[in-house]
């Protein structure tokens, strides 16, 4: 093998310009493939990072408006979820539901400490909200069950709002008393601000908000985590059952899909994953087609090489080279040319990806209200390198196959006759 490679080096050196021009096409193909895959990964990673801010296996339920007349009642009625629905979610669906909670909002409140104040809105939640929405507490704690039971007037404030109230040491606000409108609340935790959206929501116990703002038994929206629903069908079946049960509580048709809205993050994530796979496949296809033009180039050049070396192959055959020996020379040469320039393209592609990572990847886009990153880690992994290597070897073989067969068929008599 070493001798074969040494021999190929001897011949490749004789045609530097031609070999490098061909190589450029291959390098370009691989370069494009790597850059495309890297950019695709960047987009996918950014999307995934967004998704990671929620727990996948959770659903959120909103009240809607009936779209069907049912039980003597007209369509077009507003449905308000209430404590009863929350209780049903917890008890009747305990087979799948882990923890259920609800969320209520109150907007347009002013929070003040001494002279400083911020306008904010309140979000009443259950303790499980921390898990579902992955709230990160940087000081103090989140809402607990006792807060809920006793309707305590406590709150968790995002760090950016705390900074408005206590500019130099926002975390010192933890444990202090602040005024929410006219009511005194105790700050029990500082929440890490979420830069992907405006963090102006202050979190309070659900029951506290429900009582203070006279929501009666209304609960706004219900959210819960679940388990044991692995497939899309199982999820659909569960949603159907859930919808029928809740609809019935509100005298709405069990199959009325507009009476309540269900947002299932799990099936959403599943569909997202499907979409990502499609994107990834499409990128591979585009990249491979770019590479194809390079392969055709290599094949072309190898054909010319075979023609030029007809006499040499004739001599080799006359002194004992088998067709297999000749075939191998051409195919290995093709693989080496493809592989060598392919790897150059791959390295340049990595370089471009790193450049992308250093520029677009690390600079979040500042919209004023929130920040977002288009590319997260737009690079390709070891698996892709391996895949590309295999692609290169296969490509080289295919490119060399036709010329090699032609070379192997050379008849020594004819080759030696050609003066």
């Amino acid at each position: 093998m070493i001798e074969l490679i040494a021999e190929i080096w001897q011949t490749a050196r004789r045609n530097k310009l031609r070999t490098s021009l061909t190589g450029f096409a291959v390098a370009w193909g691989i370069f494009m493939l790597i850059v495309l895959l890297g950019a695709g990964n960047g987009l996918i990673n950014a999307q995934q990072e967004n998704n990671d801010r929620y727990v996948d296996n959770s659903m959120m339920v909103f009240g809607g408006m009936t779209s069907k007349a049912y039980g003597g009642l007209q369509e077009g009625r507003d449905i308000q979820l209430d404590n009863n629905d929350l209780a049903i979610t917890q008890t009747r669906f305990s087979q799948n539901v882990d923890k259920a909670g609800a969320i209520l909002y109150a907007s347009g409140v002013t929070i003040s400490v001494g002279e400083n104040y911020v306008s904010s809105s309140l979000r009443g939640v259950y303790p499980m909200d921390q898990e579902i929405n992955k709230k990160e507490i940087v000081a103090g704690r989140f809402i607990n069950d006792i807060d809920i039971r006793d309707q305590r007037k406590v709150l968790i404030i995002p760090e950016n709002q705390a900074r408005e109230l206590v500019p130099h040491n926002p975390r010192s606000l933890n444990g202090k008393t602040v005024k929410v409108g006219d009511l005194a609340f105790t700050v029990i935790g500082i929440e890490k601000e979420d830069k992907s959206r405006m963090s102006t929501e202050v979190t309070v116990p659900f029951t506290t908000l429900q009582t203070i703002y006279n929501y009666g038994n209304r609960v706004g929206r219900i959210n819960f985590t679940f388990h044991g629903l692995a497939t899309e069908q199982e999820n659909e079946a569960f949603e159907k059952r859930y919808r029928a049960t809740v609809n019935r509580q509100h005298q709405a048709a069990p199959d009325d899909e507009d009476a309540i809205w269900i947002w299932n993050r799990f099936t959403q994530a599943m569909q997202m994953a499907k979409g990502m796979n499609i994107i990834r496949t499409a990128l591979w296809v585009i990249g491979l087609f770019t590479l194809l033009s390079g392969i055709v180039g290599v094949s072309n050049i190898m054909l010319i090489t075979v023609r030029e070396r007809t006499r040499e192959f004739g001599i080799r055959k006359a002194i004992g080279a088998s067709p297999m020996n000749i075939l191998r020379i051409i195919i290995v040469e093709s693989i080496i040319v493809t592989g060598f320039f392919g790897y150059i393209g791959m390295l340049l592609g990595f370089g471009a990806n790193l450049y992308m990572d250093a520029t677009l990847g690390s600079k979040p886009i500042e919209t004023g209200l929130f920040t977002t990153t288009v590319f997260v880690n737009p690079t390709v992994g070891l698996g892709t390198c391996l895949g590309v290597t295999i692609v290169l070897i296969i490509a080289g073989t295919i490119a060399g196959l036709m010329p090699a067969l032609k070379a192997a068929r050379i008849r020594p008599i004819e080759a030696l006759r050609a003066e």
Binding site: I315, G320, S322
Partner: protein
């Protein structure tokens, strides 16, 4: 060593060409023979068949007792490699390989190890008086030197027969004489069976036996 009996060869085509019309030929071990004939007489075709470069249609050809007929390309290559040494008019050395690399090539296809190969090739070049030229490329050598490299390449595998196609055709007369002397000496001293195809009567006259071919049959 060589036994041909009733060998026929026809080239297919729009107008089939019956080139060899029943060749009977026996060449004993250690003989130095020449084959003479005008162009189109079939001597090249005969040489190709003797060299297992081409197949024939009828009859039989035995080389050192082995029937050579209807071989696969791979087998033919193997037989060529082990039994036959070729010397061509235009030397047919590979231009981007040095003299010693050219001589090594048949051994490479036999799967001889690199070191052994190099050693054998150097010995052969030494016999030709070309030790100092071993690392030179063919285009740095004279015609006579090139032909001697080609002879070394033909001999390195210790073949049963040497087939030489106009070995002096591309050389000036003085060098041609030297090469002929070399071939004669090899035949005499190493008892190598040698077949020289030529149309030069001077060359033919130096051999033990002249085989004349005309219109696809052997004369006389």
């Amino acid at each position: 060593m060589i036994h041909l009996h009733g060998v026929h060869k026809t080239y297919a085509g729009a107008q089939p060409l019956h080139v060899l019309k029943g060749i009977d030929l026996d060449i004993a071990e250690g003989e130095l023979v020449s084959i003479m004939g005008a162009s189109g007489s079939g001597k090249s075709t005969l040489l190709n068949i003797l060299g297992i470069l081409d197949d024939y249609d009828e009859g039989e050809y035995r080389l050192a007792g082995t029937l050579i007929k209807g071989l696969s390309e791979t087998r033919a290559a193997e037989y060529r490699n082990r039994m036959i040494g070729f010397i061509f008019q235009s030397f047919n050395l590979i231009g981007f390989k040095t003299a010693v690399e050219n001589v090594e090539l048949p051994l490479f296809y036999q799967g001889v190890s690199r070191r052994k190969r190099h050693q054998m090739a150097m010995e052969e070049l030494e016999k030709m008086g070309l030790t100092d030229w071993a690392t030179h490329y063919p285009n740095e050598m004279s015609g006579g030197q090139r032909q001697r490299v080609a002879i070394a390449r033909a001999l390195v595998t210790r073949p049963q027969i040497i087939l030489a196609d106009e070995p002096t055709g591309a050389l000036d007369s003085k060098t041609g004489v030297d090469v002929m002397e070399l071939l004669k000496r090899l035949n005499r001293e190493e008892k190598i069976t040698m077949i020289i195809v030529t149309h030069d009567p001077n060359v033919a006259s130096q051999t033990n036996r002249i085989i004349r071919i005309k219109d696809g049959v052997i004369e006389g």
